[in-house]
Symmetry: C2
Subunit: 101 residues, 2 copies
């Protein structure tokens, strides 16, 4: 049987975002940022997690690469914010596959 046409975009574009969401600590970061509902410093976030600060740094970088958070530097501090729009991509994907036709 012939392969069903599935766009490259459908298969590739979501990779980073879904991978980023796949780890509990990273979801935890997202939930923290959401509940705080405003910017948080890196150390403030690291305090919330159950892993070391360097590990947290790694997770934050993953989230940033996926576009789920934004960072700006202020002095020696890093200020993180949730990139709320970015979540729409995932939401749309979910809607597209789960929608009753």
């Amino acid at each position: 049987m012939k392969k069903i046409a599935v766009s490259k975009k459908e298969l590739g574009e979501y990779e980073e975002v879904f991978r980023a969401l796949a780890h509990a600590s990273r979801r935890h970061i997202i939930v923290c940022l959401s509940q705080k509902d405003g910017p948080m410093l890196g150390g403030e976030i690291a305090e919330q997690l159950d892993c070391s600060w360097p590990t947290t740094t790694g997770h934050l970088q993953t989230l940033e690469r996926a576009g789920l958070v934004t960072v700006r530097k202020q002095g020696r501090e890093q200020i993180y914010e949730l990139a709320r729009n970015r979540f729409n991509i995932v939401k749309k994907w979910l809607e597209s596959v789960a929608a009753q036709k």
Copy 2:
């Protein structure tokens, strides 16, 4: 600083679903089932993917454990269907974290 209260549910319940969605082949399966908009046999799905049948079996089992697809057996064939409702859990999570407050 005190830890932000984050429910166990928030941290644990989504684990399987998000992990299941994190792999391109598994998302591919979901897209196939969605586009076909009806039941598919295991072999029919395996045909669509670029990996071996045993590997596909593994992915299908992961999706089933996550509750994203359902299976029933008919003779020697396995009939898979998308569990569209299950996607709402993820959708709700996304809405809850991404919602402007």
